[in-house]
């Protein structure tokens, strides 16, 4: 199954929105952090793991999902949240720690939750596996439609939670898709240095489909995701989809990634200009339409950032609220 022109435009738009959002966040992040870098200073404090280069993994999956489905992301969630349709203004406000944020400033960028689109995060590696599969279990138990997708990095597959949850998801034939974003690095340790057998091959151990998609290409991811999602929707149990992707920046803003060679970094390809060119070459979009779309995306991102900046901080003692329901 190949993406329709409309789906391809949707994928491009979501990738671009993620990129422009990350650009804006990157710029704002440095405010108040020069000349001396202090992670806790400025309007955007805290660790910031951005999605530069990984946008295709989000759109190629989420384009197949509907309102009944659930999505869990990890500590690098912006692209997935945006592709899932999380409210951008409230997401931006959450990054700024504002009262209008998704969680009123209690979560921050690693803990984005939007119940209206069944979206959650976990900042602890592989810890989203269980809750993701649990959302799949709830759908199965309640005989409701929908599947759950859990995003993990390549480093997550060596956590116990990955194995424990895949085994149970397969045992109980849960409508669950485990997505592994192979950006080749778990902070500074390469996949080769950490992993003997990659996740997609381990699928054999769970008697479920496993597939690796090379190239960080939205169209190829779309096709593989269609198979994995359909498998889960058909009640045949989980699937593992491992996607080659690129981390174009450091692990977080401030990580200069000195552990990567210059040649390796120079060889990295940015998926967004490549996809833009393809859509123009294949006349999916005219240059005029492309520019209009890009202007619209920029406007949306600018509005979200403005909303976030203009919003109030929570009152300090709001910290005491929401510990219990």
């Amino acid at each position: 199954m190949k993406p329709t022109p409309q789906q391809r435009i949707w994928m491009y738009e979501a990738m671009l929105k993620s990129r422009r959002f990350d650009d804006a966040v990157f710029q704002a992040y440095w405010e108040g952090k020069k000349p001396v870098f202090h992670m806790g200073k400025g309007p955007l404090p805290g660790e910031m793991h951005q999605s530069f280069g990984q946008e295709p993994t989000a759109v190629g999956i989420c384009v197949h999902l509907g309102p009944d489905d659930a999505v869990g992301a990890g500590h690098r969630p912006h692209h997935v949240a945006i592709a899932r349709g999380v409210n951008l203004e409230r997401m931006a406000a959450e990054l700024f720690g504002k009262k209008t944020g998704l969680s009123g400033g209690r979560g921050g960028h690693m803990h984005l939750y939007d119940n209206s689109v069944n979206f959650f995060c976990s900042g602890i590696i592989a810890e989203g596996m269980g809750p993701g599969a649990g959302m799949a279990l709830a759908r199965k138990m309640q005989k409701k439609p929908g599947i759950a997708v859990a995003y993990n990095g390549d480093g997550a597959v060596n956590q116990g939670a990955f194995h424990e949850v895949m085994n149970m998801a397969a045992l109980w034939k849960l409508p669950f898709v485990c997505v592994i974003e192979d950006n080749k690095y778990a902070v500074s340790v390469t996949t080769q240095e950490s992993t003997v057998v990659p996740a997609w091959k381990r699928a054999a151990g769970y008697d479920c489909p496993g597939e690796y998609v090379k190239g960080n290409d939205p169209d190829l991811i779309f096709e593989a995701a269609a198979r994995a999602v359909q498998h889960a929707r058909d009640g045949k149990g989980p699937a593992i989809l491992e996607l080659e992707t690129e981390r174009l920046h450091g692990h977080f803003i401030g990580d200069s990634a000195g552990y990567r060679s210059k040649d390796e970094v120079a060889a990295q390809k940015d998926p967004i200009p490549l996809y833009r060119k393809r859509l123009l070459d294949e006349k999916v979009l005219t240059t005029t339409a492309m520019e209009a779309l890009e202007a619209k995306v920029q406007q949306e991102v600018d509005a979200a950032m403005k909303f976030a900046r203009d919003s109030e901080y929570p009152a300090p003692n709001e910290a005491l609220q929401r510990v219990f329901a």
């Binding site: 944020g101 979560g107 119940n115 810890e127 993701g132 649990g134 709830a138 138990m141 309640q142 116990g160």
Partner: protein, 346 residues
Amino acid sequence: MAQEAPSSGGSSRTLTMARAGREAVIAEMRKDPNIFVIGEDIAKLGGVFGTTVGMADEFGAQRVVDTPISETGFIGIATGAAMAGMRPIVEIAFVDFIGVCFNAIFNFAAKTHYMSGGQFKVPMTMMIGYGGGYNDAAQHSQCLIGTLAHVPGIRIVTPADAHDAKGLMHTCLRDDNLTIWMVHKAIWGLGWLGTAIKTAMATVPEEEYTIPFGKARIWREGTDVTLVGYGITVHHSLQAAEKLAAEGISAEVLDLRTIVPMDRDAIMKSVTKTGRVVVADEDYMNCGVTAEVLATIAERNPKALKAPAVRVANPDVPVPFSRPMENFALPDADKIVAAAIATLKS
């Protein structure tokens, strides 16, 4: 919803804590199809501690789910199911095993409601056994209640008898938070731990009833010294109070019943009356429940005490295997008696 046992109407019987807790689970499961139980050895075996005996027959394998030995995985799965509208009950037989799944409990389940700004609720109850006294050594005898109570976002109840076991289970199952229902193995009424402690068996109404979080229970009124405990140390304290009475000392026995939230008003009310306090806990002493009780007194009214408080708790050693050493480490009635006399003499 909070109410004590009905005072009239309906019949009641004497039950063990295991049966009383199970009765509440079954009653709630019959009413709410979203409740399911998940854990190790709960379907065919009926739970290591008998908490789910017969339930698989009534509710089927879909609602009484045997798992692989994968605590991190199934606690995470139960949490996700709770976020998506189910109301799971998770059994972890021995609290010691939270060592392998603490991340799923305290980094995710306990924090999801807060970090999501209240968007996602986690209505999940964990049933956990704790405690030693039967030579199971350091990896199967811990309490770890102070450890769990240290983490925000978890309600912890520790019933001391069958009546409270049922009422608190109903309360947990109707709450929209992560709750932990913890019972000391020695008072649960387990076939493999000899005769059940009589004071832990209780008359239990057949009707449903709830017991509110954060409401302590005075088991025995007294005027000279307050003995604070929960779970098994309530029974040690009751024995101690008998012995003290023989020496003309009137001890009040206060059962915390729920650790989070803790009934600090009840603690203050009792110690203001008696002026002396002994806090007994089988858990580790350092930074534990005993310290929390004394901190409450120190903060609210240190002058309430006429004499220094005394703590009777594990002296911060792994629970030893050998009988004489284990007995040394664990609290008992005699140690509480000695502590009470010490505070009365000082």
